[in-house]
């Protein structure tokens, strides 16, 4: 096989893996959008907040240590213990559930029956609030996240491809783990929303609040449920991104890459979020590989958005989104 093609395949595969991470963030958006028609701008920040909390728990950091020290003149930093990763993950998931109860109680409850744009603005506010809260609670430094996921080059793939083509592909173990986890998440979420009682209630609430109430569905319970699930998905995304590039505040910016992913996949489709993520991930790597050198590179910054723009023009509901039915 020609070298050029091999390099392209490797770039494409790595793109797929990066796409999985985009898809994980997009998944959280889709969940909340499906259940409440809210475009949750705070989803990326939720991932950041979850990852910060996880690292904080794991290292036994004292929350609000800087604030406490500043007020009382103390010199507190850590409790002095290291929690096992699994315990810290469970605790962080618990925090995300509590957070969604608080969000429902103090934000969403007061905005029932408001226009989507108002709820959208509320989530923008929420995003900045959570970013600040994360900062005060756990500090603004870049943190290393290690929950024991395998990292580095996958030797098996390297060896096999080297023997087959005379060129070893570089695939990161972490990316493989992320793909498997994402696949499991999508399968379980799809089953949940299609076949479970709460899943049906969730779709009902997404469709019509009044009708949902009339068949005995508690809106508040469904909202807490869906924000908790979105919080959990954010935690998973946070773990994957954090393990890859450290927990830092730029993590909340990956939410922006989830936007083109959603436009491609459709705002209401769970499988769409995944496929959209993969297409964007692979597309931008391949585009950079083939077209990048001709026009001076750095295409990864804008490729996804141009692709999304094309989709908005020709297929606004995305690849898998519900067709917009309008009876006149």
């Amino acid at each position: 096989m020609p070298d050029q093609l091999l390099y392209a395949i490797e770039a494409g595969l790595n793109g797929l893996m990066a796409g999985v991470l985009y898809a994980l963030v997009a998944l959280g958006f889709v969940l909340i959008f499906k259940a409440s028609g809210i475009f949750n701008y705070a989803q990326g920040v939720l991932a950041l907040f979850a990852a910060l909390t996880l690292v904080g728990f794991q290292n036994g950091q004292i929350p609000f240590a800087h604030l406490i020290n500043a007020i009382f003149g103390t010199d507190l930093h850590t409790f002095g213990w290291q929690l096992p990763a699994i315990v810290a993950i469970v605790l962080a998931a618990g925090v995300m559930v509590i957070l969604s109860i608080i969000i429902e109680r103090y934000v969403l409850k007061h905005l029932v029956n408001q226009a989507p744009i108002i709820l959208f603005m509320a989530t923008i506010g929420l995003a900045y609030f959570l970013e600040g809260l994360g900062d005060i609670m756990w500090g603004a430094d870049i943190k290393k996240l290690d929950v024991g996921l395998p990292q580095g080059i996958n030797e098996t793939i390297d060896t096999v491809t080297y023997n087959a083509f005379g060129y070893g592909f570089f695939i990161d173990n972490l990316d493989i783990v992320a793909s498997v986890v994402a696949a499991l998440l999508v399968i379980s979420l799809t089953i949940f929303s299609q076949y479970s009682k709460q899943g049906r209630a969730l779709r009902a609430v997404a469709d019509d609040h009044q009708a949902a109430l009339s068949v005995g569905i508690s809106l508040r319970f469904i909202w807490v449920l869906v924000w908790s699930i979105a919080g959990f998905v954010a935690l998973v995304a946070g773990i994957m991104w954090g393990s890859k590039s450290g927990v830092q505040f730029s993590l909340s910016l990956i939410a922006l890459k989830a936007l083109p992913v959603l436009m491609l996949g459709g705002f209401t489709s769970i499988p769409g979020a995944i496929v959209g993520g993969l297409i964007i991930g692979m597309g931008e790597k391949l585009f950079e590989f083939f077209v990048g050198p001709m026009i001076g590179g750095a295409t990864e910054n804008w490729f996804a958005y141009v692709l999304a723009l094309l989709f908005l023009v020709f297929r606004p509901q995305g690849l898998f989104g519900e067709k917009i039915i309008e009876r006149v």
Binding site: K197, R200, A201, R203, S214, V215, G216, S218, R327
Partner: protein, 273 residues
């Protein structure tokens, strides 16, 4: 009004009507300074078809919303099955066994007809989130049982051909029927119909009339309905409450109401086509 036997009565066509199922006592509802309902009392008996009529803006829909918990009255008591009902959220009322349809149709447009009707059974499903995850088989069996009940209702209302159609694509008359099916799926003790015939053509109206009578006959469901079409109301219902400007001006059998001078003055006397 005529004094009634607490055990119930027998209608002209020989149907046995049971004791009081729901009683509204001195209900008053205001929106700011506007009085929507003023001091209204009436009861609904088991197995009865009870109509609430009145000119536009008489407060009929408000009354239905009070019964179904969408509005909470400032004064008065709501008694259901022998217990006084505290202020409740609509979803709690639904769980008590009071199902309803809406004047301007509230269906889940993105879902199929079948899924829409299945949502009516949500309150009857026992398996919770965790048991569903742990005991998949049991939850599946429950789902099948509910499915069978729903299929019966679908047969009953003659909507088999559109079972899988997304509700958003259906014409108006069929949507109304699907909404009725969803309310029936909850096996309600009391079924509230908000203008079930509004906007229908003659044929659709006749169908809907037949279904309402059949539902009452077959399942013994108690039905309270609001309707504009006087002819329909008089044919359908056992007893009628007449409202005007938020007050009750008549209550009794269709014949009694028809001959009530207040009602004639307020409603039948003037043309209200």
């Amino acid at each position: 009004m005529n004094q009634m036997n607490p055990e119930g009565y027998v209608t002209a066509d020989g149907r046995k009507i049971g004791p009081v199922l729901m009683e509204m006592k001195n209900i008053s509802l205001r929106f700011g300074g506007v009085k929507a309902i003023t001091d209204i009392s009436f009861d609904i008996r088991e197995g009865e078809i009870r109509a609430i009529i009145g000119p536009n803006g008489a407060g009929k829909s408000s009354m239905l919303n009070v019964i179904s918990g969408f509005y909470v009255p400032q004064d008065g008591e709501v008694w259901f099955r022998g217990y006084k009902r505290g202020p409740m959220k609509p979803y709690q009322v639904a769980r008590l066994g009071i199902a309803r349809t809406f004047q301007n149709i509230a269906l889940f447009d993105g879902m199929s007809v079948l899924d829409n009707i299945m949502t009516g059974r949500l309150t009857l499903m026992k398996s919770g989130l965790f048991s569903q995850a742990m005991w998949w088989g049991k939850a599946e069996k429950e789902e099948t049982e509910h499915r069978e009940k729903v299929e019966k209702i679908i047969d009953f209302l003659e909507i088999q051909p559109i079972r899988k159609t997304p509700v958003g694509r259906l014409p108006y008359g069929l949507k109304k029927r699907v909404e009725l099916a969803r309310a029936l799926a909850a096996e309600p003790k009391l079924l509230l119909l908000d203008e079930p015939m509004a906007g229908m053509n003659v044929e659709e109206k006749e169908d809907m009339c037949r279904f309402i009578l059949d539902v009452n006959d077959e399942f013994g469901t108690t039905i309270a309905l609001i309707e504009h079409d006087m002819g329909v109301v008089m044919d359908l219902s056992d007893r009628v409450v007449v409202m005007d400007y938020g007050k009750k001006i008549g209550d009794g059998t269709p014949d009694e109401v028809r001959s009530n001078p207040d009602v004639i003055n307020a409603y039948l006397g003037v043309s209200h086509d």
